[in-house]
């Protein structure tokens, strides 16, 4: 026969101070666990959402990031006629891009951050078709105008519509703000590729990467076959989304490893706290337990009851930990991508799955902290414990 759960609820209430300590220990651990993972998730999600299934990225063979890539105008011309690429009103949907970083002060600290500049073709919004201008307008090709991502607009100083900024040897008018759906592009500045290169003493016939909109996600292979077998070219073709998810690996790994270590060590501490609470609960209630056993509740029922109590405490702890870090969700922070050395904004991303993981983690700590005291409770000899009366 099982001991009613009400018994555990009441006993937790009777010893609330020590229960609170265990709850807070577990809450802190779960909070750190969820926060670190959400940071890694957010960073990764921002980069992954930058890429699209429908786009192919063409870079020089062997280039590890756009920064080290290089594509000449003749290659761009060949790519434009390649099979599998969608066509818009003004020809193939291909954008040949120049990528650079410029130091622009962060509004928050006043220190320079490496902001990514991207020279794009004028039909870029047809290629990255989920992005849209939310303020002002798109830049005019051939004019010294730029549009800025919505995070760049908020994070870096001087990037407001109507302002002029100096990039390279040219002064540019900021004419619009675009929304790139929370992706890495939201931290970038975009201008005409043919002007941005020369502003940095680069020929306007040289680009870092080419992005093409595919007729369908399946036509990537067709495009890859055609480009990699062409003897005039020396390029790698990858799906845009794959490129960006690869970009996130180094920092994501760093955060996950460090976060995992810290949460792991904290978990040990929290289990110690729970053990302490449960052991003192058992020792304070020797008589109660003996009485229950004398009434006919079996050993397993007592073990079960104490584990339930520990689970109860850890569940509340896990819940509090999750709720405490919930306001972090969506909070934007900045970090440098260790693969391109450019600064980008991203948001903590707390998903339901992450919260469930946090609760499971808490319950796991609860079982560890409750099982041994429970076994001790069940193995107390009834007669000696009752004699303490």
């Amino acid at each position: 026969m099982a001991i009613p759960v009400v018994y555990n609820l009441r006993s937790v209430k009777a010893r609330w101070t020590s229960a609170i300590v265990a709850v807070l220990g577990i809450a802190g651990t779960v909070g750190v666990f969820v926060a670190m993972l959400s940071l890694a998730r957010g960073f990764r999600a921002t980069l992954v959402s930058s890429g699209s299934e429908d786009n192919a990225m063409i870079m020089r063979a062997g280039a590890t990031s756009e920064m080290t890539g290089g594509v000449g105008i003749d290659t761009v011309k060949i790519v434009q006629d390649a099979p599998g690429i969608a066509r818009g009103a003004e020809g193939p949907l291909v954008t040949a891009e120049v990528v650079m970083v410029a130091p622009i002060p962060l509004i928050s600290t006043g220190t320079d951050a490496n902001v990514q500049l991207r020279g794009v073709s004028k039909n870029v919004l047809e290629i990255r078709n989920k992005f849209k201008i939310i303020r002002g307008r798109m830049f005019q090709p051939g004019l010294a105008e730029v549009v800025v991502g919505k995070n760049a607009n908020i994070e870096y100083s001087g990037l407001t519509v109507g302002n002029t900024i100096s990039l390279g040897s040219v002064r540019w008018n900021v004419v619009g703000v675009f929304d790139a759906g929370g992706s890495a592009f939201d931290s970038e500045i975009w201008g005409d590729a043919h002007l941005l290169g020369p502003a940095y003493n680069r020929p306007d016939t040289f680009f870092q990467s080419v992005t093409a909109h595919l007729t369908s996600p399946n036509s990537l292979q067709q495009l890859r076959d055609s480009l990699t077998t062409d003897p005039r070219l020396n390029v790698d073709v990858s799906r845009e989304i794959d490129y960006y998810s690869k970009q996130s690996t180094r920092l994501t790994k760093l955060i996950t490893v460090l976060g995992g270590l810290v949460a792991g060590i904290m978990a040990i501490g929290a289990v110690f706290g729970a053990l302490n609470t449960m052991y003192s609960a058992v020792s304070e209630r020797g008589r109660e337990i003996a009485t229950m056993r004398a009434l006919g509740f079996g050993g397993p029922a007592v073990v079960f009851s104490f584990v339930i109590e520990a689970l109860l405490i850890s569940f509340v702890g896990g819940l509090i930990g999750c709720i405490a870090v919930l306001p972090l969700n969506g909070l934007t922070t900045g970090a440098m991508n260790l693969q391109t050395f450019s600064h980008m904004a991203f948001a903590f991303k707390i998903t339901t799955e992450l919260l469930i993981k946090g609760i499971i983690f808490a319950l796991f700590m609860g079982v560890l902290g409750g099982l041994f005291p429970a076994i001790r409770a069940a193995s107390l000899p009834i007669s000696t414990a009752l004699r303490e009366l």
Partner: protein
């Protein structure tokens, strides 16, 4: 201490509780040390930067290069002792995840400017006369098991068409500063000869000249096609570290969460164990021990627990941190555990111990003997 026996006898009253409380302290101290070491690893670049060194980069951005001839103009500025130019190589060794910084250096001046990075003279001589020569930091060589004489292939797309370049490891540098950078890979300028320098590092006659020299350099190149930005090495490193995100805040937040929790756990345990012994304390007072003695008695107990737990935690950290550091595999700068960190940790442990013993101790001090004895 003539009362130490009494304190110890009380400590061992409940062994499970004692072990768990000491364990909580050990875990917290271990975590504290670990976080402090990680934080140190992130800010070390700034702390170790030479006060007498300036870094000159292209004003439009770090990745833009400048004519190497600018170096002569910089050297002619009064107050400048030596100038060396560096370029970023950006090659990949076997796999992208094996990242380490590779610099194409100016062999004539690098050793004078980066004086703390020491290369044995015979190794340096081989390097200078070997166009495909390379020098690796000690940590880097250890990470990949390189020995002097090894051939090291790096795949690179920045210098001409993508191809694999091979280098001869001619020497290994060590860093005189404790925890200084030993993960760089230096290559020969004469092998590349691009005519463009990525950045310059210059050594000043005196750190006091830093502001004046920086201004002279930047003013001198103003309105040229390559404007410069000159900063002290530490400002340059700090700017870089800041962009990594607010790691300091993150670590401080976690650290305070941990300490708050620890304080609660131990405070609660102390309170429980004192409450259980109310009558004993009353007896002590009744037979003539003073209020102050009772306070010290309780405090002493929690301090002993804190000290033992703290020492265990620090001991674990001394053992574990080198292991963790080795497994992080170049993700972080080397983790360095300093005596200062250890002593700060111990002070923290003692403070937490005192704080958690204080409340129950004060309660015991104020205890009225009659009330307490009546409860028996």
């Amino acid at each position: 201490m003539k009362y130490s026996r009494l304190i110890f006898a009380n400590l061992f009253r409940k062994k499970a509780r004692l072990i768990l409380t000491i364990g909580s302290f050990a875990v917290a101290l271990f975590l504290f040390t670990f976080l402090a070491v990680v934080k140190g690893a992130f800010s070390r670049g700034t702390e170790l930067a030479g006060a007498d060194r300036l870094v000159v980069i292209n004003r439009v951005g770090l990745i833009n290069s400048m004519p190497v001839s600018y170096g002569d103009k910089i050297r002619s500025i009064p107050g400048v002792k030596v100038v060396t130019h560096n370029n970023w190589f950006g090659g990949v060794y076997q796999d992208e995840k094996n990242f380490f910084p590779q610099f194409v250096i100016d062999p004539d001046n690098q050793r004078q400017v980066m004086a703390e990075m020491k290369v044995p003279d015979d190794q340096w001589k081989n390097f200078v006369s070997d166009r495909q020569g390379a020098i690796a930091g000690r940590n880097l060589a250890k990470r990949f098991g390189w020995k002097v004489g090894d051939r090291i292939p790096l795949k690179n797309a920045l210098y001409g068409p993508t191809r694999t370049w091979e280098f001869n490891l001619d020497g290994i540098f060590t860093n005189d500063k404790e925890g200084g950078d030993e993960s760089q890979f230096w290559l020969q300028w004469s092998y590349f000869m691009k005519g463009q320098a990525g950045w310059w590092v210059l050594k000043l006659d005196s750190p006091d000249d830093a502001v004046r020299v920086a201004k002279t350099i930047d003013d001198g190149f103003a309105n040229s096609s390559y404007e410069t930005k000159t900063e002290t090495e530490s400002a340059f490193q700090a700017g870089f570290a800041k962009q990594l995100g607010n790691i300091q805040l993150l670590i401080m937040t976690i650290g305070s969460v941990v300490f708050f929790t620890l304080l609660l756990v131990t405070g609660n345990t102390m309170a429980i164990s004192i409450r259980e012994r109310t009558s004993e304390l009353a007896v002590l007072k009744a037979i003539g021990f003073t209020d102050r003695f009772v306070l010290f008695f309780v405090l002493g107990e929690s301090l002993v627990i804190a000290l033992i737990g703290g020492l265990i935690g620090l001991g674990l950290a001394i053992i574990a941190i080198p292991v963790v550091g080795a497994n992080l595999n170049g993700l972080l700068p080397p983790l360095l555990l300093s005596a200062a960190t250890l002593s700060v940790g111990l002070v923290f442990a003692v403070l937490v111990g005192a704080a958690s013993g204080l409340l129950p101790g004060l309660g015991a001090m104020r205890l009225r003997v009659v009330d307490a004895l009546r409860r028996v």
